[in-house]
Symmetry: C2
Subunit: 288 residues, 2 copies
């Protein structure tokens, strides 16, 4: 299939590579051209602009950092889009923005899906991402064979924006479950316990979580190398807060986690992994 | 083996029953005698007081609600205890209290272990509890064959009080992970999503947890029947707060969860399951 891929960062590049390896023809564009160039070795054609990438593509993928980035891409490619094309945004951005874009493109006869992912760089490389899709069902079914090359659990969530809302719900749970892990381990260490033994003792019961099992050991080792950047969860929680406010919802845990991750960034961890939260917690919880 | 069992409530009764079924001789006592009487059908002898239960027992189990309850039992049985007996407290109480009791009994030649459990009534019935043990290793090894009749994951955590500290760390994680679940589901519902589909979409990735998988469906069904009482997690979080303060630790998530579960109790859910937190969250988050 002829595919356009816009955005070849830490997530976009390995995802695009999986489509290439499956035999699809990709025309790629990235704002920082060096990053796109590496995909040329795997057979991708390089476009000199977002608009140039979409010409002749059946499906156009977008994977960029934030709401304004997606809106800029849409603005750039819109004049070049043709009736019948499908645009599929896999970035994590505001649900409201996706709904506006979907309506705008629908008027031009162009399908639009929001399909954000969870699972990080490893999931992108291995094709085991969780993909949450919003939009109409017909284009979802059209895109599904490609999504199956990228992810393991692919769920149709409802109308436009529903994929993003699901992803944001996921991020609330991720953030608070990480706090659960960090506070439990700090309490245990200060209480004189070996935290690794604690992980082992409590890791299979009612306290069990992905965060505890996967980030708990990194917290104990003070290994803050990024799986998922603090900077990005801060962006995601900002999107949650905006969407929550639009729905007249004041979530106490979300508010706390926004402050905790801001503190994590403030002490120099913005480009570290989210587990660096444990360092901020240690400093905050033991401050006299 | 000759065993004394003190405390035959919702947890203690099924645990004692498992020891009986394995062929051990139990002499049981409960403050409310009717509850102990049911165990007589399974072959337990009934004692008229805690002191009467311990006479001739090799190991004495205690399973009562709170710190003062354990201390009262210890005060009652102490004059009747004999050198070489092992007292094993499976209640969830203050680590500090266990350390004091262990020291007091050690001076009399009596071993003492704190061995709180996680896993609820189902775990007690099925013998799949998580058991976290503090005390000396020799009595732990002596008690282990009996603990294996009660639990699946049995971990020696360190000196006296270490079992309780582990259990309290577990409860911090449980409380915050439940908040993660409740906030994610509320955000999703208010955003127009079907929460059951959300559980399915996010339940296997970085947001995955025991609380999400097990209590998420109950939250969606507004099924607040108790697996684990709000009243008891409030007691446990009070113990966490006391132990944290002793270690000069101010945990923001713990503080929030104490308020959240107090709110849950205040609106009438103290004798419901912890998942009733979602009802308090709904009211708090949508209050104008």
């Amino acid at each position: 299939m002829e595919i356009a891929w816009i955005g070849t960062g830490i997530m976009g590049a390995p995802m695009a590579r999986r489509l290439l390896k499956a035999g699809h023809h990709l025309r790629v564009f990235n704002r920082t051209p060096e990053r796109a160039r590496r995909l040329a070795d795997d057979g991708a054609a390089l476009a000199s602009g977002a608009a140039g990438a979409v010409d002749g593509a059946e499906i156009i993928f977008i994977m960029v950092p934030d709401t304004p980035d997606v809106e800029r891409v849409i603005g750039n490619i819109e004049p070049s889009l043709a009736r019948g094309q499908l645009v599929l945004d896999m970035s994590t951005i505001a649900p409201e923005s996706e709904r506006r874009t979907a309506a705008k493109l629908a008027a031009l006869g162009i399908d639009y899906l929001d399909a954000p992912v969870s699972g990080g760089e490893t999931g992108a490389i291995e094709g085991t991402l969780t993909i949450m899709v919003g939009g109409s069902e017909a284009p979802f079914n059209r895109a599904r064979p490609l999504l199956q090359l990228l992810g393991k659990r692919i769920t149709y969530m409802g109308p436009s924006g529903a994929g993003q809302t699901t992803k944001l719900a996921n991020q609330i749970a991720v953030a608070l479950t990480l706090e659960a892990t960090a506070e439990a381990l700090l309490f245990a260490s200060r209480g004189g316990l070996d935290p690794a033994t604690v992980l082992d003792a409590i890791g299979a019961g009612a306290a069990a979580s992905w965060q505890l099992s996967n980030l708990g050991p990194k917290i104990i080792a003070q290994d803050y190398r990024p799986g998922f950047f603090v900077k990005l969860i801060r962006k995601d929680l900002r999107l949650v807060a905006e969407a929550a406010a639009q729905n007249d919802l004041a979530l106490p845990g979300l508010k706390m986690m926004t402050s905790m991750f801001n503190a994590t960034a403030a002490i120099g961890h913005d480009l570290d992994g989210t587990q660096a939260l444990a360092d901020a917690l240690l400093r905050i919880a033991t401050m006299k």
